[in-house]
Protein backbone atom coordinates (compact mmCIF):
# COMPACT_ATOMS: atom_id res chain seq x y z
CA UNK A 1 0.00 0.00 0.00
CA UNK A 2 1.50 3.29 -1.08
CA UNK A 3 1.49 5.98 1.61
CA UNK A 4 1.55 9.52 0.24
CA UNK A 5 0.90 11.43 3.49
CA UNK A 6 2.70 14.76 3.59
CA UNK A 7 0.64 16.67 6.16
CA UNK A 8 -0.99 18.92 3.58
CA UNK A 9 -4.71 19.21 3.14
CA UNK A 10 -6.29 17.51 0.13
CA UNK A 11 -8.13 20.02 -2.07
CA UNK A 12 -10.99 17.58 -2.69
CA UNK A 13 -14.14 17.75 -0.58
CA UNK A 14 -15.50 14.43 0.64
CA UNK A 15 -19.07 15.23 -0.37
CA UNK A 16 -18.05 16.14 -3.90
CA UNK A 17 -16.27 12.80 -4.06
CA UNK A 18 -19.43 11.03 -2.89
CA UNK A 19 -21.47 12.73 -5.59
CA UNK A 20 -18.96 11.95 -8.33
CA UNK A 21 -18.43 8.35 -7.28
CA UNK A 22 -22.14 7.58 -6.99
CA UNK A 23 -22.76 9.15 -10.37
CA UNK A 24 -20.11 6.90 -11.90
CA UNK A 25 -21.50 3.83 -10.10
CA UNK A 26 -25.00 4.62 -11.41
CA UNK A 27 -23.64 4.49 -14.95
CA UNK A 28 -21.65 1.30 -14.36
CA UNK A 29 -24.33 -0.64 -12.50
CA UNK A 30 -28.02 -0.21 -13.25
CA UNK A 31 -28.91 -1.70 -9.87
CA UNK A 32 -27.38 1.18 -7.89
CA UNK A 33 -29.89 3.45 -6.11
CA UNK A 34 -29.18 6.53 -3.99
CA UNK A 35 -31.61 7.36 -1.19
CA UNK A 36 -31.38 10.55 0.80
CA UNK A 37 -33.40 12.16 3.57
CA UNK A 38 -33.57 15.78 2.42
CA UNK A 39 -29.78 16.08 2.57
CA UNK A 40 -28.78 15.71 -1.07
CA UNK A 41 -27.44 19.23 -0.85
CA UNK A 42 -25.04 17.99 1.83
CA UNK A 43 -24.07 14.60 0.42
CA UNK A 44 -22.96 16.01 -2.93
CA UNK A 45 -25.73 14.25 -4.84
CA UNK A 46 -28.03 17.22 -5.47
CA UNK A 47 -27.25 17.21 -9.20
CA UNK A 48 -27.98 13.49 -9.52
CA UNK A 49 -30.24 12.77 -12.48
CA UNK A 50 -32.77 10.01 -12.96
CA UNK A 51 -35.26 7.89 -11.08
CA UNK A 52 -32.55 6.07 -9.13
CA UNK A 53 -31.86 9.19 -7.09
CA UNK A 54 -34.66 9.11 -4.53
CA UNK A 55 -35.32 11.81 -1.99
CA UNK A 56 -37.32 10.26 0.84
CA UNK A 57 -37.87 13.48 2.73
CA UNK A 58 -37.02 13.83 6.41
CA UNK A 59 -37.98 10.27 7.27
CA UNK A 60 -34.85 8.25 7.99
CA UNK A 61 -36.58 5.15 9.39
CA UNK A 62 -38.72 4.89 6.27
CA UNK A 63 -35.69 5.51 4.06
CA UNK A 64 -33.74 2.65 5.60
CA UNK A 65 -36.77 0.33 5.31
CA UNK A 66 -37.16 1.28 1.66
CA UNK A 67 -33.47 0.59 1.11
CA UNK A 68 -33.94 -2.87 2.61
CA UNK A 69 -36.96 -3.54 0.38
CA UNK A 70 -35.02 -2.37 -2.68
CA UNK A 71 -32.25 -4.75 -1.70
CA UNK A 72 -34.73 -7.63 -1.48
CA UNK A 73 -35.93 -6.81 -4.98
CA UNK A 74 -32.41 -7.02 -6.37
CA UNK A 75 -31.26 -3.40 -6.26
CA UNK A 76 -28.09 -2.08 -4.58
CA UNK A 77 -29.13 0.85 -2.40
CA UNK A 78 -27.03 3.50 -0.71
CA UNK A 79 -28.84 5.55 1.94
CA UNK A 80 -27.46 8.78 3.36
CA UNK A 81 -28.15 11.03 6.28
CA UNK A 82 -26.10 12.78 8.92
CA UNK A 83 -24.42 10.27 11.25
CA UNK A 84 -26.86 10.55 14.19
CA UNK A 85 -29.88 9.98 11.96
CA UNK A 86 -28.14 7.28 9.92
CA UNK A 87 -27.47 5.40 13.17
CA UNK A 88 -29.56 6.30 16.25
CA UNK A 89 -32.65 7.53 14.43
CA UNK A 90 -33.00 4.47 12.21
CA UNK A 91 -31.25 1.80 14.26
CA UNK A 92 -34.04 -0.76 14.50
CA UNK A 93 -34.63 -0.45 10.77
CA UNK A 94 -30.94 -0.96 9.98
CA UNK A 95 -30.78 -3.83 12.45
CA UNK A 96 -33.92 -5.73 11.40
CA UNK A 97 -35.02 -4.71 7.91
CA UNK A 98 -31.37 -4.47 6.89
CA UNK A 99 -29.06 -6.85 8.73
CA UNK A 100 -31.40 -9.42 10.30
CA UNK A 101 -33.46 -9.82 7.12
CA UNK A 102 -30.19 -10.20 5.14
CA UNK A 103 -30.63 -7.09 3.07
CA UNK A 104 -27.04 -5.80 2.90
CA UNK A 105 -27.73 -2.10 2.44
CA UNK A 106 -25.03 0.57 2.52
CA UNK A 107 -25.56 3.48 4.89
CA UNK A 108 -23.48 6.64 4.70
CA UNK A 109 -23.37 8.78 7.85
CA UNK A 110 -21.80 12.19 7.28
CA UNK A 111 -20.45 14.62 9.88
CA UNK A 112 -19.13 12.01 12.35
CA UNK A 113 -18.14 13.23 15.80
CA UNK A 114 -16.63 16.69 16.02
CA UNK A 115 -16.92 17.26 12.27
CA UNK A 116 -20.58 18.12 12.93
CA UNK A 117 -19.11 21.39 14.27
CA UNK A 118 -21.71 24.15 13.93
CA UNK A 119 -24.66 21.76 13.94
CA UNK A 120 -23.72 21.01 17.52
CA UNK A 121 -24.51 18.34 20.08
CA UNK A 122 -27.80 17.19 18.55
CA UNK A 123 -25.99 16.36 15.32
CA UNK A 124 -22.71 15.06 16.76
CA UNK A 125 -22.55 11.26 16.82
CA UNK A 126 -19.95 9.91 19.20
CA UNK A 127 -21.79 6.59 19.32
CA UNK A 128 -22.53 5.64 15.70
CA UNK A 129 -19.68 3.15 15.42
CA UNK A 130 -20.70 1.55 18.71
CA UNK A 131 -24.22 1.04 17.41
CA UNK A 132 -23.15 -0.38 14.07
CA UNK A 133 -20.47 -2.59 15.65
CA UNK A 134 -23.21 -4.25 17.68
CA UNK A 135 -24.98 -5.41 14.51
CA UNK A 136 -23.92 -8.94 13.50
CA UNK A 137 -22.11 -9.13 10.14
CA UNK A 138 -21.97 -5.33 9.80
CA UNK A 139 -18.96 -3.66 8.19
CA UNK A 140 -17.95 -0.31 9.69
CA UNK A 141 -15.67 2.14 7.87
CA UNK A 142 -14.23 5.23 9.56
CA UNK A 143 -13.05 7.05 6.43
CA UNK A 144 -9.56 8.54 6.50
CA UNK A 145 -9.14 10.08 3.07
CA UNK A 146 -10.50 10.35 -0.45
CA UNK A 147 -8.98 7.16 -1.90
CA UNK A 148 -10.44 5.17 1.01
CA UNK A 149 -13.86 6.75 0.50
CA UNK A 150 -13.88 6.01 -3.22
CA UNK A 151 -12.84 2.41 -2.64
CA UNK A 152 -15.38 1.91 0.17
CA UNK A 153 -18.23 3.32 -1.92
CA UNK A 154 -17.24 1.17 -4.89
CA UNK A 155 -17.00 -2.04 -2.87
CA UNK A 156 -19.90 -1.52 -0.46
CA UNK A 157 -22.66 -2.35 -2.96
CA UNK A 158 -21.38 -5.91 -3.26
CA UNK A 159 -20.37 -6.58 0.36
CA UNK A 160 -22.37 -9.29 2.13
CA UNK A 161 -23.27 -7.37 5.31
CA UNK A 162 -24.85 -4.05 6.15
CA UNK A 163 -22.09 -1.51 5.55
CA UNK A 164 -21.77 1.77 7.44
CA UNK A 165 -19.49 4.44 6.03
CA UNK A 166 -18.86 7.34 8.42
CA UNK A 167 -17.26 10.22 6.62
CA UNK A 168 -16.94 13.98 7.06
CA UNK A 169 -18.21 16.26 4.32
CA UNK A 170 -15.21 18.54 4.12
CA UNK A 171 -11.63 18.04 2.95
CA UNK A 172 -9.17 15.64 4.56
CA UNK A 173 -5.47 14.90 4.63
CA UNK A 174 -4.54 12.40 1.96
CA UNK A 175 -2.79 9.33 3.34
CA UNK A 176 -3.10 6.73 0.59
CA UNK A 177 -2.29 6.97 -3.10
CA UNK A 178 -5.23 7.48 -5.44
CA UNK A 179 -6.61 4.17 -6.65
CA UNK A 180 -5.55 2.24 -3.54
CA UNK A 181 -7.57 -0.93 -3.04
CA UNK A 182 -8.62 -1.74 0.52
CA UNK A 183 -10.13 -4.89 1.98
CA UNK A 184 -12.61 -4.76 4.87
CA UNK A 185 -10.85 -6.27 7.88
CA UNK A 186 -7.37 -5.49 6.56
CA UNK A 187 -5.63 -2.61 8.27
CA UNK A 188 -2.85 -0.43 6.90
CA UNK A 189 0.53 0.26 8.49
CA UNK A 190 0.80 3.96 7.74
CA UNK A 191 4.07 4.41 9.61
CA UNK A 192 6.50 1.94 11.11
CA UNK A 193 8.05 2.36 14.56
CA UNK A 194 9.47 0.16 17.30
CA UNK A 195 8.61 2.05 20.50
CA UNK A 196 4.83 2.50 20.47
CA UNK A 197 1.79 1.76 18.36
CA UNK A 198 -0.92 4.31 17.65
CA UNK A 199 -4.08 2.78 16.21
CA UNK A 200 -6.03 5.65 14.67
CA UNK A 201 -9.04 5.88 12.40
CA UNK A 202 -10.79 8.57 10.36
CA UNK A 203 -9.71 12.15 10.98
CA UNK A 204 -7.44 10.94 13.82
CA UNK A 205 -4.98 9.30 11.40
CA UNK A 206 -3.67 12.77 10.53
CA UNK A 207 -3.37 13.65 14.24
CA UNK A 208 -1.56 10.34 14.86
CA UNK A 209 0.90 11.04 12.03
CA UNK A 210 1.59 14.50 13.43
CA UNK A 211 2.04 12.96 16.88
CA UNK A 212 4.43 10.32 15.52
CA UNK A 213 6.50 13.05 13.91
CA UNK A 214 6.69 15.00 17.17
CA UNK A 215 7.45 11.87 19.21
CA UNK A 216 10.30 11.00 16.82
CA UNK A 217 11.91 14.31 17.68
CA UNK A 218 11.89 13.14 21.31
CA UNK A 219 13.39 9.79 20.35
CA UNK A 220 10.19 7.74 20.40
CA UNK A 221 9.51 5.89 17.17
CA UNK A 222 5.77 5.30 16.98
CA UNK A 223 4.07 3.08 14.44
CA UNK A 224 0.66 4.17 13.13
CA UNK A 225 -1.95 1.66 12.04
CA UNK A 226 -5.20 2.62 10.36
CA UNK A 227 -7.68 -0.27 10.73
CA UNK A 228 -9.69 0.99 7.67
CA UNK A 229 -12.70 -0.91 9.02
CA UNK A 230 -13.35 -0.80 12.74
CA UNK A 231 -15.45 -3.90 12.14
CA UNK A 232 -14.24 -6.35 11.09
CA UNK A 233 -11.05 -5.28 12.87
CA UNK A 234 -7.65 -6.48 11.71
CA UNK A 235 -6.86 -7.96 15.14
CA UNK A 236 -3.96 -9.98 13.77
CA UNK A 237 -2.13 -6.93 12.46
CA UNK A 238 -2.76 -4.94 15.63
CA UNK A 239 -1.59 -7.79 17.87
CA UNK A 240 1.54 -8.23 15.77
CA UNK A 241 2.51 -4.57 16.15
CA UNK A 242 1.41 -4.44 19.77
CA UNK A 243 3.82 -7.28 20.45
CA UNK A 244 6.63 -5.44 18.66
CA UNK A 245 6.10 -2.19 20.57
CA UNK A 246 4.56 -3.06 23.95
CA UNK A 247 2.68 0.25 24.11
CA UNK A 248 -0.65 0.80 22.35
CA UNK A 249 -2.67 4.01 22.14
CA UNK A 250 -5.93 4.30 20.22
CA UNK A 251 -7.13 7.57 18.66
CA UNK A 252 -10.71 8.03 17.51
CA UNK A 253 -13.28 10.77 16.90
CA UNK A 254 -15.88 8.81 18.89
CA UNK A 255 -16.87 7.88 22.42
CA UNK A 256 -14.25 5.63 24.04
CA UNK A 257 -17.14 3.22 24.64
CA UNK A 258 -17.98 0.88 21.81
CA UNK A 259 -15.80 2.26 19.02
CA UNK A 260 -12.16 1.81 18.01
CA UNK A 261 -10.83 1.89 21.58
CA UNK A 262 -13.17 -0.89 22.65
CA UNK A 263 -12.50 -2.92 19.52
CA UNK A 264 -8.71 -2.70 19.92
CA UNK A 265 -8.92 -3.43 23.66
CA UNK A 266 -10.93 -6.56 22.82
CA UNK A 267 -8.28 -7.61 20.33
CA UNK A 268 -5.48 -7.16 22.88
CA UNK A 269 -7.06 -8.96 25.84
CA UNK A 270 -4.48 -11.15 27.53
CA UNK A 271 -1.42 -9.45 26.04
CA UNK A 272 1.19 -8.02 28.43
CA UNK A 273 1.37 -4.35 27.35
CA UNK A 274 0.52 -0.78 28.23
CA UNK A 275 -2.70 0.59 26.79
CA UNK A 276 -4.08 4.10 26.51
CA UNK A 277 -6.67 5.96 24.49
CA UNK A 278 -7.44 9.30 22.92
CA UNK A 279 -11.20 9.42 22.48
CA UNK A 280 -14.29 11.24 23.66
CA UNK A 281 -14.63 10.64 27.39
CA UNK A 282 -18.25 9.50 27.45
CA UNK A 283 -19.73 12.99 27.18
CA UNK A 284 -22.17 14.65 24.78
CA UNK A 285 -21.11 16.80 21.86
CA UNK A 286 -21.47 20.56 21.68
CA UNK A 287 -21.46 23.32 19.13
CA UNK A 288 -18.42 25.20 17.90
CA UNK A 289 -15.67 25.49 15.30
CA UNK A 290 -13.92 22.19 14.66
CA UNK A 291 -10.59 23.50 15.96
CA UNK A 292 -12.26 24.43 19.23
CA UNK A 293 -13.97 21.03 19.46
CA UNK A 294 -10.71 19.21 18.77
CA UNK A 295 -9.20 20.91 21.82
CA UNK A 296 -12.41 20.63 23.86
CA UNK A 297 -12.51 16.84 23.47
CA UNK A 298 -8.72 16.37 23.47
CA UNK A 299 -8.67 14.86 19.99
CA UNK A 300 -5.26 16.38 19.20
CA UNK A 301 -1.78 15.25 18.23
CA UNK A 302 -0.53 16.90 21.45
CA UNK A 303 -2.81 14.73 23.53
CA UNK A 304 -1.73 11.60 21.65
CA UNK A 305 1.92 12.54 22.40
CA UNK A 306 1.06 13.06 26.08
CA UNK A 307 -0.64 9.68 26.41
CA UNK A 308 2.19 7.86 24.62
CA UNK A 309 4.83 9.56 26.75
CA UNK A 310 2.98 8.77 29.99
CA UNK A 311 2.88 5.11 29.02
CA UNK A 312 6.54 5.14 28.02
CA UNK A 313 7.64 6.83 31.24
Amino acid sequence: MEIVYNGEKDSRMFNAVIGGTIDALMKEDEKVVWLDADLMGCSGTAKGQGERYINCGIAEANMIGIAAGLCASGMKPYAHSFGPFASRRSYDQVFLAGAYAKNPITVIGTDPGITAAFNGGTHMPFEDMALYRAIPEAIVYDITDVPMLVDALRKAKDLPGVTYIRVPRKASFQVYADGTSFTPGKGAVVREGKDALIVASGIMVHEAMQAAKALAEDGIEAAVIDPVTVKPLDAELIREWAKKTGVVVTAENHNKIGGLTSAVADALIGMPLKFGHVAVEDVFGEVGPQDYLRERFDLTCDHICRVVKELKA
Binding site: V33, E51, R52, I54, C56, G57, A59, A61, N62, M63, I64, G65, I66, A67, A68, G69, L70, C71, A72, S73, G74, M75, P77, D92, Q93, L96, A97, Y100, A101, K102, N103
Partner: protein, 278 residues
Protein backbone atom coordinates in the same frame (compact mmCIF):
# COMPACT_ATOMS: atom_id res chain seq x y z
CA UNK B 1 -67.09 -14.34 -9.82
CA UNK B 2 -69.09 -17.55 -10.13
CA UNK B 3 -70.71 -19.13 -7.10
CA UNK B 4 -68.29 -22.01 -7.52
CA UNK B 5 -65.30 -19.65 -7.32
CA UNK B 6 -66.76 -17.99 -4.23
CA UNK B 7 -67.26 -21.35 -2.55
CA UNK B 8 -63.73 -22.41 -3.44
CA UNK B 9 -62.28 -19.31 -1.79
CA UNK B 10 -64.50 -19.73 1.28
CA UNK B 11 -63.27 -23.31 1.57
CA UNK B 12 -59.67 -22.16 1.21
CA UNK B 13 -60.20 -19.57 3.96
CA UNK B 14 -61.63 -22.26 6.20
CA UNK B 15 -58.66 -24.53 5.48
CA UNK B 16 -56.33 -21.64 6.36
CA UNK B 17 -58.16 -21.23 9.68
CA UNK B 18 -57.86 -24.95 10.40
CA UNK B 19 -54.16 -24.89 9.49
CA UNK B 20 -53.64 -21.82 11.68
CA UNK B 21 -55.27 -23.43 14.71
CA UNK B 22 -53.40 -26.71 14.16
CA UNK B 23 -50.15 -24.79 13.80
CA UNK B 24 -50.68 -22.87 17.04
CA UNK B 25 -52.03 -25.96 18.83
CA UNK B 26 -48.73 -27.75 18.14
CA UNK B 27 -46.99 -25.26 20.46
CA UNK B 28 -49.90 -24.64 22.83
CA UNK B 29 -49.89 -20.87 22.46
CA UNK B 30 -49.63 -18.21 19.80
CA UNK B 31 -51.02 -15.14 18.05
CA UNK B 32 -54.42 -16.57 17.25
CA UNK B 33 -56.61 -13.44 17.09
CA UNK B 34 -54.78 -11.45 14.43
CA UNK B 35 -54.01 -14.60 12.44
CA UNK B 36 -57.67 -15.56 12.11
CA UNK B 37 -58.74 -12.03 11.16
CA UNK B 38 -56.63 -12.04 7.97
CA UNK B 39 -57.47 -15.59 6.83
CA UNK B 40 -60.02 -14.47 4.24
CA UNK B 41 -57.73 -11.84 2.75
CA UNK B 42 -54.93 -14.41 2.50
CA UNK B 43 -57.31 -16.91 0.89
CA UNK B 44 -58.32 -14.44 -1.82
CA UNK B 45 -54.76 -13.19 -2.36
CA UNK B 46 -53.14 -16.62 -2.70
CA UNK B 47 -56.25 -18.37 -3.98
CA UNK B 48 -57.04 -16.15 -6.92
CA UNK B 49 -55.33 -12.76 -7.06
CA UNK B 50 -51.58 -13.12 -6.73
CA UNK B 51 -49.38 -14.32 -9.56
CA UNK B 52 -47.17 -16.74 -7.63
CA UNK B 53 -45.62 -20.14 -8.27
CA UNK B 54 -44.90 -22.35 -5.25
CA UNK B 55 -42.43 -24.30 -7.41
CA UNK B 56 -40.53 -21.11 -8.18
CA UNK B 57 -40.99 -19.06 -5.02
CA UNK B 58 -38.32 -16.47 -5.85
CA UNK B 59 -39.46 -15.73 -9.40
CA UNK B 60 -38.54 -12.00 -9.67
CA UNK B 61 -41.76 -10.89 -11.36
CA UNK B 62 -44.09 -12.67 -8.93
CA UNK B 63 -46.59 -10.73 -6.88
CA UNK B 64 -45.33 -10.31 -3.32
CA UNK B 65 -46.82 -10.22 0.14
CA UNK B 66 -45.47 -8.30 3.09
CA UNK B 67 -47.34 -9.20 6.24
CA UNK B 68 -46.13 -6.26 8.28
CA UNK B 69 -48.12 -7.50 11.26
CA UNK B 70 -45.53 -10.26 11.39
CA UNK B 71 -47.24 -12.03 14.28
CA UNK B 72 -49.87 -13.29 11.83
CA UNK B 73 -47.17 -15.73 10.73
CA UNK B 74 -49.26 -18.84 11.54
CA UNK B 75 -52.00 -17.79 9.09
CA UNK B 76 -49.47 -17.01 6.37
CA UNK B 77 -47.67 -20.32 7.01
CA UNK B 78 -50.96 -22.23 6.78
CA UNK B 79 -51.69 -20.47 3.47
CA UNK B 80 -48.25 -21.26 2.07
CA UNK B 81 -48.42 -24.91 3.21
CA UNK B 82 -51.83 -25.34 1.58
CA UNK B 83 -50.46 -23.79 -1.61
CA UNK B 84 -47.65 -26.35 -1.60
CA UNK B 85 -44.68 -24.16 -0.69
CA UNK B 86 -43.72 -26.72 1.97
CA UNK B 87 -45.26 -29.86 3.49
CA UNK B 88 -48.34 -29.33 5.62
CA UNK B 89 -46.73 -31.24 8.52
CA UNK B 90 -44.16 -28.48 8.86
CA UNK B 91 -46.91 -26.33 10.38
CA UNK B 92 -46.57 -28.42 13.54
CA UNK B 93 -42.98 -27.17 14.06
CA UNK B 94 -44.04 -23.60 14.96
CA UNK B 95 -41.55 -22.08 17.40
CA UNK B 96 -39.82 -25.40 18.06
CA UNK B 97 -36.03 -25.11 18.54
CA UNK B 98 -34.37 -24.69 15.15
CA UNK B 99 -37.69 -24.30 13.34
CA UNK B 100 -38.25 -22.69 9.95
CA UNK B 101 -41.51 -21.25 11.28
CA UNK B 102 -40.88 -18.58 13.92
CA UNK B 103 -43.66 -16.55 15.55
CA UNK B 104 -42.93 -13.69 13.18
CA UNK B 105 -42.43 -13.99 9.40
CA UNK B 106 -38.82 -14.51 8.27
CA UNK B 107 -37.85 -14.43 4.59
CA UNK B 108 -34.63 -16.33 5.26
CA UNK B 109 -36.25 -19.21 7.09
CA UNK B 110 -39.58 -19.92 5.44
CA UNK B 111 -40.03 -20.72 1.74
CA UNK B 112 -42.58 -18.32 0.27
CA UNK B 113 -42.17 -15.53 2.81
CA UNK B 114 -41.19 -12.43 0.87
CA UNK B 115 -40.12 -10.17 3.75
CA UNK B 116 -39.01 -10.48 7.34
CA UNK B 117 -41.36 -8.65 9.70
CA UNK B 118 -42.05 -8.47 13.41
CA UNK B 119 -40.90 -5.05 14.56
CA UNK B 120 -44.22 -3.38 13.89
CA UNK B 121 -44.38 -0.67 11.26
CA UNK B 122 -41.24 -1.77 9.46
CA UNK B 123 -42.96 -3.92 6.84
CA UNK B 124 -44.59 -0.81 5.41
CA UNK B 125 -41.28 0.68 4.33
CA UNK B 126 -39.80 -2.58 3.10
CA UNK B 127 -42.94 -3.17 1.04
CA UNK B 128 -42.49 0.30 -0.43
CA UNK B 129 -38.89 -0.59 -1.30
CA UNK B 130 -39.92 -3.86 -2.92
CA UNK B 131 -42.61 -2.19 -5.02
CA UNK B 132 -40.20 0.59 -5.97
CA UNK B 133 -37.56 -1.99 -6.90
CA UNK B 134 -40.06 -3.80 -9.13
CA UNK B 135 -40.99 -0.53 -10.81
CA UNK B 136 -37.34 0.45 -11.36
CA UNK B 137 -36.65 -2.96 -12.88
CA UNK B 138 -39.69 -2.77 -15.16
CA UNK B 139 -41.49 -5.74 -13.64
CA UNK B 140 -45.23 -6.01 -14.15
CA UNK B 141 -46.27 -7.20 -10.70
CA UNK B 142 -47.75 -5.96 -7.45
CA UNK B 143 -46.84 -6.03 -3.78
CA UNK B 144 -49.58 -6.53 -1.21
CA UNK B 145 -48.98 -5.11 2.23
CA UNK B 146 -50.99 -6.19 5.27
CA UNK B 147 -50.83 -3.73 8.16
CA UNK B 148 -52.46 -4.18 11.54
CA UNK B 149 -54.72 -1.48 12.96
CA UNK B 150 -52.72 -1.52 16.20
CA UNK B 151 -49.48 -1.42 14.24
CA UNK B 152 -50.66 1.80 12.68
CA UNK B 153 -49.72 3.54 15.95
CA UNK B 154 -46.16 3.44 14.63
CA UNK B 155 -45.09 6.70 12.99
CA UNK B 156 -43.10 4.83 10.37
CA UNK B 157 -46.39 3.56 8.89
CA UNK B 158 -47.37 7.12 8.03
CA UNK B 159 -43.95 7.95 6.64
CA UNK B 160 -44.34 4.97 4.31
CA UNK B 161 -47.94 5.89 3.47
CA UNK B 162 -46.93 9.43 2.55
CA UNK B 163 -44.13 8.08 0.35
CA UNK B 164 -46.42 5.54 -1.36
CA UNK B 165 -48.86 8.25 -2.42
CA UNK B 166 -46.30 10.96 -3.18
CA UNK B 167 -44.30 8.69 -5.48
CA UNK B 168 -47.48 7.21 -6.98
CA UNK B 169 -46.54 3.63 -6.15
CA UNK B 170 -49.65 2.15 -7.70
CA UNK B 171 -48.08 -1.33 -7.78
CA UNK B 172 -48.32 -1.42 -3.98
CA UNK B 173 -51.67 -2.26 -2.39
CA UNK B 174 -52.20 -1.48 1.28
CA UNK B 175 -54.56 -3.68 3.31
CA UNK B 176 -55.34 -2.55 6.83
CA UNK B 177 -56.63 -5.31 9.08
CA UNK B 178 -59.12 -3.21 11.02
CA UNK B 179 -59.94 -5.81 13.66
CA UNK B 180 -60.35 -3.10 16.31
CA UNK B 181 -58.12 -4.65 18.93
CA UNK B 182 -54.47 -4.66 19.86
CA UNK B 183 -52.55 -6.45 22.61
CA UNK B 184 -53.77 -4.33 25.50
CA UNK B 185 -57.39 -3.93 24.39
CA UNK B 186 -59.52 -1.98 21.93
CA UNK B 187 -57.58 0.35 19.64
CA UNK B 188 -60.11 3.10 20.31
CA UNK B 189 -59.14 2.94 24.01
CA UNK B 190 -55.38 2.50 23.60
CA UNK B 191 -54.70 5.02 20.84
CA UNK B 192 -57.71 5.83 18.74
CA UNK B 193 -56.86 5.57 15.04
CA UNK B 194 -59.92 7.61 14.07
CA UNK B 195 -61.43 7.12 10.63
CA UNK B 196 -58.85 5.05 8.78
CA UNK B 197 -60.47 5.38 5.36
CA UNK B 198 -60.49 9.17 5.67
CA UNK B 199 -56.92 9.18 6.96
CA UNK B 200 -55.65 7.15 4.00
CA UNK B 201 -57.69 9.22 1.56
CA UNK B 202 -56.17 12.36 3.08
CA UNK B 203 -52.73 10.82 2.63
CA UNK B 204 -53.44 10.53 -1.10
CA UNK B 205 -54.77 7.00 -1.44
CA UNK B 206 -57.75 5.67 -3.30
CA UNK B 207 -59.19 4.30 -0.05
CA UNK B 208 -62.19 2.12 0.64
CA UNK B 209 -63.59 0.01 3.46
CA UNK B 210 -64.93 -3.47 2.85
CA UNK B 211 -66.07 -6.49 4.84
CA UNK B 212 -62.73 -8.23 5.32
CA UNK B 213 -64.40 -11.61 5.63
CA UNK B 214 -66.39 -11.40 2.39
CA UNK B 215 -64.32 -13.14 -0.29
CA UNK B 216 -66.36 -11.63 -3.12
CA UNK B 217 -65.79 -8.10 -1.83
CA UNK B 218 -62.12 -8.90 -1.25
CA UNK B 219 -61.72 -10.24 -4.76
CA UNK B 220 -63.37 -7.19 -6.25
CA UNK B 221 -61.20 -4.79 -4.24
CA UNK B 222 -57.96 -6.69 -4.80
CA UNK B 223 -58.35 -7.08 -8.56
CA UNK B 224 -59.27 -3.46 -9.15
CA UNK B 225 -56.58 -1.69 -11.13
CA UNK B 226 -55.15 1.39 -9.47
CA UNK B 227 -55.45 4.57 -11.50
CA UNK B 228 -53.33 7.56 -10.52
CA UNK B 229 -53.52 6.89 -6.79
CA UNK B 230 -52.38 3.81 -4.89
CA UNK B 231 -55.10 1.67 -3.35
CA UNK B 232 -55.68 1.28 0.40
CA UNK B 233 -58.30 -1.21 1.52
CA UNK B 234 -59.54 -1.05 5.09
CA UNK B 235 -60.62 -4.56 6.01
CA UNK B 236 -63.48 -4.46 8.49
CA UNK B 237 -62.68 -7.63 10.40
CA UNK B 238 -63.20 -9.43 13.69
CA UNK B 239 -60.17 -10.41 15.72
CA UNK B 240 -60.31 -14.20 16.10
CA UNK B 241 -62.84 -14.54 13.25
CA UNK B 242 -64.12 -18.05 12.62
CA UNK B 243 -63.70 -19.54 16.08
CA UNK B 244 -66.52 -18.38 18.32
CA UNK B 245 -64.65 -18.80 21.60
CA UNK B 246 -61.70 -16.79 20.31
CA UNK B 247 -63.94 -14.06 18.91
CA UNK B 248 -65.61 -13.79 22.32
CA UNK B 249 -62.37 -13.63 24.28
CA UNK B 250 -61.47 -10.03 25.02
CA UNK B 251 -57.71 -10.62 25.24
CA UNK B 252 -57.26 -12.76 22.14
CA UNK B 253 -54.06 -11.30 20.73
CA UNK B 254 -52.05 -14.28 21.93
CA UNK B 255 -53.72 -17.17 23.73
CA UNK B 256 -52.47 -20.15 25.69
CA UNK B 257 -54.98 -22.97 26.08
CA UNK B 258 -54.94 -26.73 26.63
CA UNK B 259 -55.06 -29.25 23.76
CA UNK B 260 -58.71 -30.07 24.55
CA UNK B 261 -59.65 -26.44 23.97
CA UNK B 262 -57.79 -26.36 20.67
CA UNK B 263 -59.68 -29.54 19.74
CA UNK B 264 -63.02 -27.82 20.48
CA UNK B 265 -62.00 -24.94 18.23
CA UNK B 266 -60.96 -27.36 15.50
CA UNK B 267 -64.25 -29.29 15.84
CA UNK B 268 -66.14 -26.07 15.21
CA UNK B 269 -64.10 -25.49 12.04
CA UNK B 270 -64.35 -29.10 10.88
CA UNK B 271 -68.14 -29.04 11.41
CA UNK B 272 -68.36 -25.94 9.26
CA UNK B 273 -66.22 -27.63 6.64
CA UNK B 274 -68.56 -30.63 6.62
CA UNK B 275 -71.60 -28.39 6.36
CA UNK B 276 -69.98 -26.54 3.47
CA UNK B 277 -69.28 -29.75 1.59
CA UNK B 278 -72.69 -31.28 2.34
Amino acid sequence: MTQEQVKKLQEFALQIRIGTVECIKSRGFGHIGGSLSVADALAVLYGSVMNVDPKNPKKPDRDKLVCSKGHAGPAVYATLALKGYFPYEKLMTLNQPGTDLPSHCDRNKTTGIDMTTGSLGQGTSTAVGMALGDRLQGRDCRTFLIVGDGEIDEGQVWEAAMFTAAKKLTNLVWLVDWNKKQLDGYTKDILDTGDLEKKFAAFGFDACTIDGHDVEKLYEALTRKAQDKPIAIILDTVKGKGVKAVEETMKNHSMTVGPEVFDEWLKELYDRQKAMNA
